[in-house]
């Protein structure tokens, strides 16, 4: 206790007063917090869990100072519900969790999909299933992020491989959530969450920050909360404000009241799916290195993308035609992009820390699925450049 209160734990103190630009040396989790605040976060409810705890810890200190609300809830289910409520009432809202906590949030994430509530859910992945490996890294939640909540729906899942990218992708996550009124999952992992490196905090205005689209319907006039505009966007009105309307997890009509009418049910499910899937190309975020003439392409995301980059830079310096594509949008899966970028590759190596969740998607996306190989590690240890190198060597027929 004394160690904590005497300020001996670095990272708790606002560190540097550097004038311009603001440079910090922080963990990925803190970069997420700074990104969320930059994007205008006003409400956080959560239940701290390793390895996402620092997000709650820093927000508990910083969010009230910015006039926002931080609540440590009784559990993850309640946190996700509180986030839905706060967002409906007009606040940019977020929660953060890991492992089993992400499982607990799934029902209310489905509610947010159905009721079209903008919100951001951070999942700093650890080993699973169940309580699994609380302090160790994994990327086993790729499919859960997409399909964890029941029923047909679409969702946006973003990831990042550096402290700087976490900041920027967090801002992007809020922008997408607010623009399309959807939950956005930020799928980080223990390594990038806990790793410390340089963060250059952009000045306000430097990165685009999207705000919610509001209705122009006057008070006292009928407002249809679930009547999409022609472009598919739903103008909002803060719940509890000037318009009275209903919100439900049931299939609903344009007033938000429950309906079982087949036409309306069908229209809603198509709307929920199309508003995201039809924009897959707009939502795709990625980075690419040396793809032009690459014979061997590594595809990765999150912390293993760093190992892949390490290997690619090394092998390029020796003249090997190796390239890298790092996905930052995982869902909607940018299948067309992956197909185009790997069209001329002899072999595609997918580097991820699970049993092949994205590998399956890549196999579905590319012309020749037989040339797609999984390079993984599922022992709680970060996939390293040698791990990738060994598999590539074997496939290239150069021994193990």
């Amino acid at each position: 206790m004394s160690a904590a209160t005497t300020g001996k734990t670095p990272g708790k103190k606002a560190a540097v007063q550097a004038a311009e630009p603001e440079i910090r040396f922080v963990q990925g989790n803190e970069a997420c917090v700074r990104g969320a605040l930059y994007a205008g976060l006003k409400f956080f409810a959560g239940y701290p869990i390793t390895p996402s705890t620092e997000i709650a810890e820093h927000l508990a200190e910083l969010l009230p100072r910015k006039g926002g609300v931080f609540i440590q809830m009784e559990d993850e289910i309640a946190s996700m519900c509180a986030v839905c409520g706060a967002s409906l009432a007009g606040s940019k809202a977020m929660t953060a969790t890991s492992g089993p906590g992400f499982s607990l949030k799934q029902e209310a994430i489905g509610y947010a999909c159905m009721a079209e509530i903008p919100c951001v859910i951070v999942n700093v992945q650890r080993g699973g299933p169940s309580t699994g490996l609380p302090t160790k890294v994994a990327q086993g939640d790729v499919m859960q992020a997409r399909w964890g909540t029941h029923g047909d729906h679409s969702i946006v899942v973003l990831t990042a491989s550096s402290v700087q990218d976490i900041f920027e992708i967090t801002v992007e996550g809020f922008n997408i959530a607010e623009t399309y009124r959807t939950p956005v999952i930020l799928l980080f992992d223990e390594v990038v969450g806990h790793m410390r490196e340089k963060l250059v905090v952009p000045k306000q205005g430097e990165l685009h920050v999207a705000d919610r689209l509001y209705t122009e319907v006057k008070p006292g006039v009928n407002y249809h909360p679930y009547l999409p505009r022609e472009d598919g966007r739903l103008p909002s009105s803060d719940f509890g404000g000037v318009h009275r309307y209903n919100v439900t997890g049931l299939f609903h009509d344009i007033f938000g009241f429950p309906t079982e009418h087949p036409d309306q049910v069908s229209k809603l499910i198509y709307h929920l799916v199309d508003k995201i899937e039809n924009r897959a190309h707009l939502l795709a975020r990625w980075k690419e290195y040396y793809l032009e003439d690459a014979e061997h392409v590594i595809l990765s995301y999150g912390s293993p993308a760093r190992s892949a980059r390490h290997l690619v830079e090394n092998r390029r310096s020796k003249g090997d035609r190796v390239g890298l594509i790092e996905l930052q949008t995982i869902w909607p899966f940018p299948a067309q992009l992956v197909r185009e970028k790997t069209a001329h590759a002899k072999n595609i190596f997918v580097a991820e820390m699970n049993m092949g969740q994205v590998t399956t998607l890549v196999k579905q996306a590319v012309v020749n699925p037989n040339r797609v190989f999984l390079v993984n590690r599922v022992d709680g240890v970060m996939l390293n450049p040698q791990d990738i190198g060994r598999v590539m060597r074997t496939i290239e027929g150069r021994g193990f």
């Binding site: 103190k13 560190a15 540097v16 040396f25 790793m195 410390r196």
Partner: protein
């Protein structure tokens, strides 16, 4: 500048991770270098083996972990036994000569200093042991300057700790300097 790959190890509560963060922050914020710090830890809050990796370089750093350190710091025998075999040939091994016993024959530059004892004799409290180690490390490696470390100490800690931190930092630096001269 060469690429420094530090592996710092000891027992939970000795300040190993704090030490790693201060070193890396000094390199990034005050020397304009690239640095990455990461740690591996178990569920326990105190005791148990602690390890933190720091890479300091002039160019970009992609893979953030240290597989083979060129500078290993061990503050307990357990830590030294666990990590000594990873050291790169010719690497620097800084250890506390009272707390660490080892019996390994490796091609390395071994630098044992009674840092814990010195801190206890000078300041009477073990809290700044890690700061003393940092002072020694700065002199032995020249990865960062003492001035940069001191700047981090001044911003990271409350004013009440400044005096002892400065003393401990200088203590480690002087011990290492004496070793270099001999």
């Amino acid at each position: 500048m060469e690429r420094y790959r530090f592996l710092m190890s000891g027992s939970g509560g000795q300040g190993v991770i704090t030490m790693a963060i201060i070193l890396a922050e000094a390199a990034v914020i005050y020397e304009g270098r690239t640095a990455i710090q990461s740690q591996s830890y178990g569920p326990e809050a105190r005791g148990g083996a602690t390890r933190s990796d720091v890479i300091v370089a002039d160019g970009p750093i992609f893979f953030p972990k240290v597989l083979h350190p060129n500078c290993l710091v061990a503050l307990t025998s357990e830590a030294s036994n666990k990590y000594l075999h990873l050291i790169r040939p010719g690497g620097l091994f800084l250890y506390d000569s009272d707390l660490v016993q080892f019996d390994v024959r490796v091609d390395m530059r071994r630098k044992g200093l009674p840092m814990h004892r010195a801190v206890m004799e000078t300041l009477g409290k073990p809290q700044t042991f890690n700061i003393c180690v940092l002072g020694a490390l700065a002199v032995l490696t020249e990865a960062v300057t003492l001035e940069s470390l001191e700047k981090v100490l001044m911003t990271r800690f409350a004013e009440v700790h400044h005096k002892n931190n400065r003393t401990a930092l200088q203590l480690g630096a002087d011990m290492a300097a004496a070793l270099v001269e001999n």
